[in-house]
């Protein structure tokens, strides 16, 4: 039986549920110890109904909140039949064929009971620092089947009636390269689920189970009804896009969005067959990406919950890169298949929004991905380690403003923290010039960094290169906006760095470092004493025509080092006088007119 909830109580309690998810996230960060959890925010914390439907997805990755709902349902199916679900139990699952996206993302789900009655679930994931796969860190470029990619757990009880099963815990961490850090990863998840349980029980104690159940139901109904109404405001239509995941082979992903009345159908028919590379996505991950795209475009101000499932239908043929079947590998998928599906689901939604006078303002340029690396070896403190290297990507421009510099996917680690924990030394780290895609509104600049080995006891560490491996891995422009500078991962072998340091010279540009340049595909390589590793994060794509950008804004971009004078002139048609270093408005007007006339002379 549900009660009628007054609007004030509804607002207070729905925000309180949201606040619990934020506190769960804070707990993950404070108890966890790896760079992924504490600095990159590569985690999720959410609440679920007793049936496993998303109740509050919090502010972390919504695609994982959707997948963790599948995790709750798989745990219920398994343990209701055998093993039981009791107060204070906590379960663990990371099987990508059942609920997780890849094995490194370990889901922990916990029932929330009040006086022996099951009233909901909490769930978390963190990306653990190792999972016993063939490559340190879990992302395995050489894996051709799931059995190469580490532990695959279809569901086990890690905490039984409030007591940690130490034998199970020890077994799990013993199968990884970093038992201490993985142990900490698991314990931060236990802590976050315990926080959720305590806070939910306090709420239930104060307001009563019936009221909380009613608010939960109303929250989901509220989100679904508003979302459906918004979809109805947009003209019906069909939009398509396709993308490629490029390594030594190329895999195509094709998406057609059909919008009819208040329904959105994402159809991936035509996508390539699953690969013998870990780029493949399970169905629930493909669904989760579409769920996240819908929430972030049409539902960004709504309670993020199961209500957004209602209007969505996702068709992904079995055995393709978007609905992987056993035994195909998945370990590289979050930065390859997932980024492609996120991009495509966002792209078709952006095309849809652009056809609505009311919604076209929300259009934003999207990113196809970026490169990153795991690094592993013996650190300056004599301990074996595995960790992550990436840098900050730029966000795409929108229909009304520039993309944020360093405002793209995930957050990055602190350089000093990296240097104090690992045998690496930063040579520089900064925003790139001419990175953001040009446009009426320019994409945000990504960061670039160069680093070298320093104080490494073994004179080398291992680098595992992954991410979207192709060259076109960056912010894509929209509606005329230009593509952004792609993300790069490059090794400069046998550089001049040792000589420069001996001469007390400080290299500020890549060209000064010399060496043999080697772009890193999906691969494992060694970083040695004379080498330099260069990472350039993807910048954001531009929006609209660069010739429509306010000349004064281009002038400021040049002054801030984000756009070169050559690009200002060639792409934006903006002239800055060499002698005065000031904007030349007349020259700019004339140049823009000339550039525009030239366009009409192009063939059809």
């Amino acid at each position: 039986m549900t009660m009628t909830v007054d609007p004030v109580t509804f607002e207070i309690l729905s925000h309180r549920l949201h606040q619990i998810t934020l506190e769960m996230g804070t707990t993950l960060e404070r108890v966890g110890g790896t760079v992924n959890t504490t600095q990159m925010h590569d985690y999720m914390a959410a609440l679920y109904t007793p049936d496993g439907n998303v109740l509050s997805a919090g502010e972390s990755m919504a695609r994982h909140a959707a997948c963790a709902g599948f995790a709750v349902k798989r745990i219920k199916e398994r343990f209701e039949e055998s093993g039981g679900i009791y107060p204070d139990d906590i379960f663990l699952i990371n099987d990508p064929y059942l609920a997780a996206i890849h094995q490194s993302d370990i889901y922990m789900v916990s029932p929330i009971h009040y006086k022996e009655r099951l009233l909901g679930w909490s769930a978390t994931f963190v990306h653990v620092m190792d999972i016993g796969a063939m490559s340190p860190g879990g992302n395995s470029p050489g894996a051709t089947e799931i059995c190469h990619e580490g532990l695959r757990i279809p569901g086990l009880k890690l905490v039984e009636r409030g007591k940690l099963r130490q034998d199970v815990f020890d077994t799990l961490i013993n199968m990884t390269r970093q038992p201490v850090m993985v142990g900490l990863d698991l314990k931060c998840e236990i802590a976050a689920n315990n926080v959720a349980k305590s806070r939910m029980q306090e709420m239930i104690e104060h307001y009563g189970a019936e009221l909380i159940t009613s608010v939960s139901s109303d929250m989901i109904h509220h989100s679904e009804s508003i979302l459906r109404a918004r979809i109805r405001e947009i003209p019906d239509g069909v939009w398509t896009d396709s993308g490629a995941i490029e390594t030594d082979e190329t895999w195509r992903v094709v998406l057609t969005l059909t919008k009819e009345r208040d329904r959105l159908t994402f159809d991936f028919t035509g996508s390539d067959k699953q690969a013998r590379r870990g780029i493949n996505l399970p169905y629930h991950a493909t669904f989760g990406a579409c769920f996240e795209s819908v929430l972030s475009t049409l539902g960004y101000d709504l309670p993020r919950n199961h209500g957004a499932f209602g209007p969505i239908n996702v068709i992904a043929p079995e055995g393709t890169v978007v609905n992987v079947q056993y035994p195909a590998p998945v370990s590289l998928n979050t930065t390859s298949g997932m980024k492609t599906v996120q991009y495509l689901s966002g792209s078709v939604l952006m095309q849809m929004l652009a056809t609505s006078d009311k919604w076209k303002r929300e259009v934003m340029a999207l990113s196809l991905g970026f490169r990153l690396a795991r690094h592993a070896g013996v650190n300056q403190h004599g301990r074996y380690y595995v960790s992550t290297l990436l840098d900050l990507s730029g966000a795409g421009a929108t229909s009304y403003r520039d993309g944020m510099n360093s405002g793209g996917y995930l957050t990055a680690h602190n350089a000093e923290w990296i240097e104090s924990n690992f045998p690496l030394m930063y040579l520089f780290r900064r925003h790139v010039t001419d990175g953001g895609g040009a446009g009426k509104f320019v994409g945000g600049a990504g960061a670039e960094a160069a680093m070298a080995l320093h104080d490494a006891p073994e004179d080398k560490i291992k680098i595992i290169a992954f991410g979207v491996a192709g060259l076109r891995n960056s912010g894509q422009g929209i509606f005329g906006g230009y593509p952004a500078a792609p993300s790069l991962l490059m090794l400069l072998e046998e550089s001049k760095l040792p000589g420069l340091i001996a001469q007390r010279k400080y290299p500020r540009e890549l060209n000064e470092l010399g060496g043999r340049r080697k772009l890193l595909p999906y691969s494992e390589v060694e970083l040695k004493n004379d080498d330099v590793l260069y990472i350039r994060a993807a910048s954001g794509g531009g929006y609209g025509d660069p010739l429509e950008r306010e000349p004064q804004l281009v002038f400021e971009d040049v002054r801030n080092g984000l756009v070169s004078k050559a690009t200002a002139e060639q792409i934006y048609g903006v002239i800055i006088e060499e002698s005065t270093q000031l904007l030349n408005p007349t020259g700019t007007r004339e140049l823009r007119l000339k550039l525009r006339q030239k366009r009409t002379q192009q063939p059809r």
Binding site: P235, G237, V238, W239, T240, D241, S242, G243, A244, V254, Q351, A354, T355, S356, D357, K360, S399, V432, D434, G435, G437, A438, K440, L471, R472, Q476, G477, F479, G480, G481, Y482, P483, A484, A485, P486, L488, L519, R536, S539, Y543, G544, D545, P546, L547, S564, A566, T567, Q570, I571, L595, R596, Q597, K598, R599, T600, Q601, Q602, P603, R604
Partner: protein
């Protein structure tokens, strides 16, 4: 019913039919059901025309730009794969 299609393009209805036209110069490009891309002025250039940091894409991709043939308004910019025979292949099918 008139409605926007994307930046600088809209669907426009008269008594006879629905059309796609440039919002800057009002030049009609095609019927609403046809592919407006086929009616655009088109330029293919090296990827570095979008910025010097796209150097690594040279010999793999070309920058394709679609303009209004009437006024030069920019409708679309995309990277398309460059084929060895000098032709280019669209990696993205036509969008609505």
């Amino acid at each position: 019913m008139n409605h926007p299609l994307r930046e600088n393009l809209e669907v426009y209805a008269d008594q006879a039919s629905e059309w796609i036209r440039c919002t800057q110069c009002l030049r009609v490009l095609c019927r609403a059901n046809d592919n407006w891309r086929d009616s655009c002025a088109r330029r293919l250039s090296p990827p570095t025309q979008a910025g010097p940091l796209l150097q690594e894409l040279t010999e793999h991709f070309l920058l394709e730009q679609l303009y209004c043939p009437g006024c030069g308004a920019l409708f679309n910019t995309d990277l398309v794969e460059e084929q060895k025979n000098g032709q280019e292949e669209r990696t993205k099918p036509a969008k609505a």
